[in-house]
């Protein structure tokens, strides 16, 4: 995992290794909170980590409800917490 990828999360710039998922790259950067829940506005991170639970959904390049644990980061990707 040598290639460094840079992407944006809620406006801030982050880097990660090629092949890493959005969730993994953010957790590696100390960003645990991926979104807030609709009703309780509670912070959520990854839970199942394998695409089953949909707890980690984020908006990626404008497309909502994408699972951050499955989608690999790519250069200039724009990731936003779904509200």
């Amino acid at each position: 995992m040598s290639n460094e990828i840079s992407f944006h999360f809620n406006g801030a710039k982050f880097t990660g290794a090629a092949g890493q998922s959005v969730a993994a790259a953010l957790i590696a950067n100390g960003e645990r909170e991926l979104r807030r829940t609709r009703f309780g506005e509670e912070p959520r991170s990854i839970f199942c980590g394998i695409g089953i639970c949909f707890d980690c959904v984020v908006t990626i390049n404008g497309v909502a409800n994408q699972r951050a644990c499955l989608i690999e980061i790519s250069n200039d990707m724009n990731v936003e917490s779904t509200l």
Binding site: A17, L34, P43, S45, I46, C48, G49, I52, C53
Partner: protein
């Protein structure tokens, strides 16, 4: 041509044995790389005997008879003439693939139980922690409590400790329960070196292990450990607090039975009331020209999945199944039974809950809301409770909570969960959410 759905141990074994008989095989899988949830190899950290995956992955990559479709989420399936059509999403585009014969090896995911604080970030499944580490090279935290029950806690805990995390194991059951299954141990002597491998790793990595205990609450970086009985009810509350930035908690596995259910393959309840597929001696499902192997026919681990997959692959090509293969499957199934006996998941976890504890993570439905749907609105099963509370109606389609909601409703009504409710709760009309836009145009977004 044969389609194998899933590229884990069962799927790879099926593809290898079918291609070995000269048959064209297409393996379709949702991940970018083969190996499934169990064999992940981006990092140096590997589990016991995980090197045997090389043989299967080489076959996947080099055998010209095998095609590997990656990053493809099969969301629905239908009967088409003499065969089947699978509809899948790949990079946001909807595609189709058809074949006369299908081998389903859809695997399983971690079973979880709710407790106060289980929705805070930092709580994840052991499978999630393992996937972060092995699939993405990220250690989930600095101080990690691996809790729940079952042998899968061992590879997860030791891999995390090897990668530098401070790790503790909190196992709910007593290892003495293995005394209930002497024959399974006798017929699976290969399990002893595996046990010694993990036991010595635990000693070497200074991992503290507690039995008969469970993490029953997690708040502000503190995991509260309680002593529990074998049915998971609390024997002594809050005996110890552990500082941890991650709690990896899992209670065995739930098979993913959605796709076979859509195709009309008959299901049944396993001894632990998990919904699994009925298969015959050659792994044939009740629907014509469908074979099912691995966790979807009953949780049994990679060894059993490999044995079942190899048999399914041979059967799908009309080949004879060697007696040695059947014997291997028999001994591994015996071991799978012993696992269920040694690591049961009873209903005592309901004692851990508070009124406000979230049960359905997607729709944020609390324990109190579900209990009230029973006591005040007259719900007698999970389906009715779901209509009142929305528990199980979120994006995960009830994969995480539906079994717990059934148990909680049954616990409140003091009844047991019916076979029909268990079967219904595990089946869904589609296997993954898909937007109407994609359905209409074939393109996402």
């Amino acid at each position: 041509m044969i389609i194998v759905v899933g590229a884990g141990p069962a799927g790879l074994a099926a593809a290898k044995s079918a291609a070995g008989k000269g048959c064209q095989v297409t393996v379709i899988d949702s991940q970018p790389r083969g190996g499934g949830q169990y064999w992940r190899h981006l990092t140096e950290v590997s589990g016991y005997k995980s090197d045997r995956s090389a043989e299967y992955l080489n076959e996947l990559h080099q055998n010209k008879l095998i095609t590997h479709i990656t990053g493809a989420q099969v969301w629905s399936a239908e009967k088409l003439g003499d065969g089947y059509q699978l509809n899948y999403l790949q990079a946001g585009v909807e595609k189709k693939i058809c074949a006369q014969k299908i081998i389903l090896t859809t695997g399983a995911y971690d079973r979880t139980l709710p407790f106060p604080g289980w929705t805070t970030s930092g709580v994840m499944t052991p499978g999630g922690a393992q996937s972060l580490l092995k699939g993405h090279g990220v250690v989930a935290g600095k101080a990690i409590v691996v809790s729940g029950t079952g042998p899968f806690l061992l590879p997860v805990a030791t891999a995390l400790a090897k990668s530098g995390a401070h790790v503790e194991i909190i196992e709910a059951q007593s290892p003495l329960r293995w005394a209930l299954s002497p024959l399974a141990l006798l017929l699976n002597p290969g399990k002893f070196p595996e046990l010694i491998h993990y036991a010595s790793a635990i000693v070497r990595l200074k991992i503290r292990v507690s039995f008969g205990s469970a993490v029953t609450e997690y708040h502000s970086g503190v995991a509260q450990v309680s002593k529990v009985r074998s049915n998971l009810s609390i024997r002594k509350k809050s005996v110890r607090n552990i500082n941890a930035d991650v709690v990896a908690t899992g209670w065995g596995f739930l098979p993913d039975v959605t796709l076979g259910g859509i195709l009309g393959c008959a299901q049944t309840l396993d001894r632990d009331e998990t919904v699994v597929f009925e298969v015959d001696k050659e792994q044939r499902a009740s629907a014509k020209n469908i074979w099912i192997a691995g966790e979807a026919t009953g949780i049994g681990g990679a060894d059993l999945a490999l044995a079942e997959g190899a048999i399914a692959g041979l059967s799908a090509t009309g080949s004879r199944i060697p007696a040695g293969m059947r014997w291997k499957r028999f001994t591994k199934r015996l071991f799978a039974k012993a696992l269920q006996r040694s690591y049961p998941v009873g209903g005592g976890w309901q004692e851990w809950l508070r009124d406000e504890t979230v049960i359905c993570r997607c729709e944020e439905v609390s324990c109190q809301e579900i209990v009230e749907s029973v006591q005040e609105l007259g719900a007698e099963d999970a389906r009715t409770s779901k209509l009142f509370t929305r528990a199980g109606m979120g994006l995960c389609q009830g994969r995480v909570c539906s079994r717990n909601v059934s148990d909680l409703v049954a616990g409140t009504t003091k009844c047991s969960v019916s076979r029909n409710e268990r079967l219904a709760a595990s089946n869904r009309p589609i296997a993954a959410p898909i937007s109407l836009g994609v359905l209409g145009d074939g393109i996402a977004g």
